[in-house]
Amino acid sequence: MQQGRGDRAAAKALSQLVKKVLVPPEMRRAFQSDPRGTLERAGIEADKLPPDILETLSGMSYEELSAVAGIGQGVAEFERRRGCFVF
């Protein structure tokens, strides 16, 4: 079954990805050139991550990955769909 962000294991893996791979600058740099290898080195199972999120992160520039790192753990919060009330 495909992993979604609402899945608890996926959320945990995503949280680990942010903490161990995106926040440390050297891991972030490594992830940009070798996503799968960097995840393995960080002890994160790529298959546990939501594939769409992994694909998005893998296609990002270093600057964009830095922006995600700046947002931090919030990206791993459980999904709740409500429209954007601030406009």
Binding site: R36, P51, D52, T56, A67, V68, G74, V75, R82, V86
Partner: protein, 234 residues
Amino acid sequence: MFRVLADSESERLRAKIDLVQPVLWSAEERLLTHPRIAELYPHYLFLCHCIVRASVPLMETARRRVEELSATSDSVAGLDTYLERHELEERDHDTWLLEDLESLGIPRSSILRRPPTATVAGLVGAQYYWILHYHPIALLGYMAVLEWNPPSLEDIDDLVERTGHPRAAFRTLIEHAELDPTHAQELQEMINGLRLNPEQSTLMGLSAMHTVAALAAACEELTQRLPRSGGGGI
């Protein structure tokens, strides 16, 4: 490398927004479910006014930059026409918000006198920086966050009921819910019609993610104005 499924520019941008959007949803959830949301609602409208009053000036600034860049390799064909049309669609929405606030008995003079927060200045100001000092394509990332995910009328009805405020105070929010699906479609088509280089694509993503983070921070500030229980005024 992982395979990248998103095969259009708008899909790639949407995927980046979706990645960070939970931060904004969580912040909005805390705001909208606040037990004193009725008291916070006028402050929420003030926040929206601070943002919306900058919409048309931002688009005008971006359009002028597009025109300046038209003879250079940074040219983005069609963006100026799109912005000019969208300026007309967004015009006077800030006045609607002032009218919504007046329906709550809050005079517009008091709203216009109140200083916008540093968070809002950072949200909107970043766009001016990117437009004036790098490339106006940044603004499309900002607009995508604001327009691609409007609230449902059902959620607005729920908010009307929980605040107990007159429906007139929700006019802008309702219009936003009704108009933005069309605006979102137009923006998506616009983005898909652009031929962006990797740097421009990165900028659009950066701008969108910065917008999400700044909006979330603005919502958190608003939520923290009042304790969730007990007394304490603004």
